[in-house]
């Protein structure tokens, strides 16, 4: 439990709507939740990772329509600084109830801005729905590009989906070509900052979701806060989301817990390593957690 954060309930779930599912990464939970929240006024806009100028280079954007949400579906395994828009959303965009999706570190940033708003005037009370996505690690765009173009021998513009699972990085194209490389090949491209990250399943989100634990086309969903619970239950009642019990689902929470434990233990070790002078810098390196 401690590796998965606090939660009120956990489900195997997916979007109730085929349109959303068609290009969603997994169960389309993020897109369906935001679409429902937009339609019902729980939020008046959502910060998502929109399509950027180059293929799979995400660009944070504020979606205020379902069409814009649909355009942002799918995982881009590269850094999308969604928090960069958090203040602007309350300014020139004029939003009052903001939705935001992000990796665990981005959700931490949201919560920190709410509690310690440094240069973040009017942000704390305007966060209405923070959706977290599970995250093992991320890649700078150059790294991702090399993984796809060189290691997978695929032109990145042709890619329709990327996916990390079962120890492999997979790339799909429209022609059905499917290149796979073992994850160990990708390690050197990881963003170094990810190696001190102690959160796998977005512990601080209102609702967190990811692919691990449930079958293809479905998502694992943790409902965490009261606001998350209210929104999620209503979305289920309204048919935007189909939620089923996690009982008996394979590989289920066991695998989620295993991966979370691995991530946290490994990174915790690295943090301790940095604190000692045997680090190659030969002096203790800063620890943001103390």
């Amino acid at each position: 439990m401690e590796y998965l954060g606090q939660y009120k309930a956990v489900y195997k779930a997916k979007a109730g709507c085929e349109d959303i599912l068609s290009k969603a990464q997994d169960g389309g939970i993020v897109t369906a939740m935001f679409a429902y929240a937009l339609e019902t006024g729980i939020i008046d806009g959502a910060i998502v990772a929109g399509p950027g100028e180059e293929a799979y280079k995400p660009e944070p954007m504020i979606a205020t329509t379902v069409d814009e949400l649909l355009a942002a579906r799918g995982t881009k395994y590269s850094i999308s600084p969604n928090m960069a828009l958090i203040k602007e959303a309350t300014r020139s965009y004029g939003l009052d109830k903001i939705g935001i999706v992000g990796t665990p570190c981005q959700i931490q940033a949201v919560r920190k801005a709410q509690l310690y708003p440094i240069g973040m005037r009017d942000v704390p009370d305007k966060i209405a729905l923070a959706l977290g996505i599970f995250c093992m690690e991320n890649f700078p765009y150059q790294g991702l590009y090399q993984m796809v173009e060189d290691h997978c021998a695929t032109k990145i513009d042709n890619v329709t989906k990327m996916d990390i699972g079962k120890g492999k990085f997979s790339v799909y194209t429209e022609r059905g070509v499917n290149a796979q490389i073992p994850l160990k090949v990708t390690h050197k491209y990881e963003q170094p900052g990810c190696h001190v990250c102690l959160d796998y399943v977005a512990n601080l989100a209102d609702i967190s979701t990811g692919s691990v634990g449930t079958p293809d086309g479905w998502s694992t969903v943790f409902v965490r806060s009261a606001a998350g619970e209210a929104a999620f239950n209503k979305a289920v009642d309204a048919g935007w989301i189909i939620a089923e019990s996690m009982d008996g689902v394979k590989p289920g929470l066991e695998l989620v817990t295993k991966l979370a434990t691995e991530k946290i233990t490994k990174n915790q070790k690295y943090i301790e390593h940095r604190a000692h002078a045997e680090h190659e810098a030969l002096k203790p390196l800063r620890n943001p957690y103390i």
Binding site: D44, G45, T64, E88, T90, R91, S92, Y93, G94, L95, D96, R121, D122
Partner: protein, 455 residues
């Protein structure tokens, strides 16, 4: 025999200042000096060599009540020097920002001015923090007006305190249709509140004008009918926004401006011979101390046509609306009369705004050292910035801010008032002393050099 009394520091206004007052046997001011004792931060000097983009952002930090004025005046002084014409929609966003700031600033000043005043028909002074009616509702209304001003400023200007959206060449961002709707709704909400607030405040000030005395230091002090009258002129550049050297018909003329040292204008060294420990709260400066306004004043003294002038709400109304009420109460009432315009103007500008229009000039020349100036009608009056930009760098920068203009004028307006009411006169100017404090530049002959730069 005249005596000298000193009130230091003065309160319920922005910044740090004091009053050195020469009074007669009846305690009536014969000659008063009101001066800034805020440390000089030297923004104009440190601006030299910096880029035209950063200087307006630094100038903004001169003051947190009217940062809009400094941001816009500095940005537009750069634009004037560089010859940049900004797009209409950027200008409209700046107007919305300007009006939003005026709304909040005037409302804030109501809080500062009210404790001097009486609830009409009673002998009880108004404590804006009192939980009792009718004061409670007034305080709430003021806070709502300020919230609206700050929120609208934030939407149009990026930030309510130190606006981030203005940039040389226009604005960084236009706003969304939703944001514009929000501005409308908030402004509509402000309209009836602003009207009620204006009417309430005018009634309170009129009541003070009719009173014979005010309680001060535990005694009844007679209120003269000509409280705060002066013979200086007015200077204003626009009823709402401002003017710049890019205008076809600029409404400010640098050739009429001259700056002298406090040395030429303020009193010399004086010994304090009168003290009153009952002056709220904490008494006046102890007798025996020395005051030297000439040396202690931290501002230059700008003159227009060779005289100190008054700037601010009354100057605007006097020049553009034939307003003629004099004195401290006349000035306070003029300020209240600006409430409605600031709300209507932002509604008009929001109406005219095209939310998909471009807000940055296509071409931004980098400057050839030409002098440019821009005047912004800040809540407290004309805020004139002058700049020379060459190859993207600021070569020279000067800020003539409203309270700097008002310092010597208000000092003259003190004559004839009982010293206990001097602060009431000062507060009528809604002083912003941080704003006023800046560097004065002398050449070898102790002459101001700013004037020469214009030639």
């Amino acid at each position: 025999m005249s005596k000298v009394v000193e009130i230091s520091p003065t309160t319920r206004h922005e910044g740090h200042s004091k009053l050195v007052l020469k009074v007669n046997d009846e305690g009536i001011i014969e000659r008063g000096d009101w001066l800034s004792i805020t440390p000089v931060r030297g923004v104009e000097k440190l601006a030299i060599g910096k880029t035209y983009e950063q200087v307006p952002k630094i100038a903004s930090r001169v003051c947190g009540i009217c940062p809009i004025a400094h941001t816009l005046a500095a940005t537009e002084a750069m634009e004037a020097s560089m010859g940049v014409e900004i797009p209409d929609d950027a200008y409209l966003l700046r107007i919305i920002l300007q009006c939003a700031n005026r709304l909040h600033s005037h409302a804030l000043h109501d809080i500062l001015a009210l404790p001097d005043m009486y609830l009409p028909g009673t002998d009880s002074k108004i404590n804006p923090f009192s939980p009792e009616e009718p004061v409670r509702s007034v305080a709430k209304r003021i806070q709502t007006l300020r919230m609206i001003g700050q929120t609208i400023g934030e939407i149009a200007g990026g930030e309510a305190v130190h606006p981030s959206n203005p940039r040389v060449g226009g604005m960084y961002k236009n706003i969304t249709p939703r944001a514009r709707t929000k501005i409308y709704d908030l402004a509509k909400q402000a309209l009836p509140l602003a009207r009620e607030q204006m009417e309430f405040m005018i009634a309170v000030f009129e009541n003070y004008a009719k009173r014979d005395w005010a309680e001060m230091c535990g005694r009844e002090v007679a209120i003269p009918k000509d409280l705060g009258f002066h013979q200086q002129g007015y200077m204003a550049t626009d009823p709402c926004y401002g003017s710049s050297s890019l205008d076809e018909h600029p409404t400010w003329d640098p050739a009429r401006w001259l700056e002298v040292r406090p040395w030429d204008w303020y009193m010399g060294e004086e010994e304090i011979t009168l003290e009153d420990p009952a002056y709220p709260v904490g008494g006046t400066t102890k007798a025996g101390g020395k005051a030297w306004p000439q040396m202690q004043a931290c501002t230059g003294v700008p003159l227009y046509d060779g005289q100190p002038v008054e700037v601010g709400p009354r100057a605007r109304l006097a020049m553009y609306r034939n307003y003629d009420r004099k004195g401290a109460i006349g000035l306070n009432i003029a300020r209240e009369m600006e409430y409605m315009d600031s709300v209507y103007k932002m509604i008009e500008a929001a109406d005219a705004l095209n939310t998909s229009g471009s807000v940055v000039a296509d071409v931004i020349p980098q400057g050839d050292g030409t002098i440019g100036w821009a005047a912004n009608e800040a809540p407290r009056g004309a805020d004139v910035h002058l700049a020379k930009v060459r190859n993207g760098k600021v070569e020279w920068f000067s800020m003539l801010v409203p309270t700097t203009w008002n310092f010597p004028t208000c000092s003259r307006a003190l004559t004839g008032a009982p010293w206990e009411l001097a602060e009431v006169i000062v507060r009528a100017y809604d002083p912003c002393v941080s704003c006023a404090t800046h560097m004065i530049v002398l050449d070898e002959d102790n002459r101001l050099v700013a004037q020469k730069l214009l030639e």
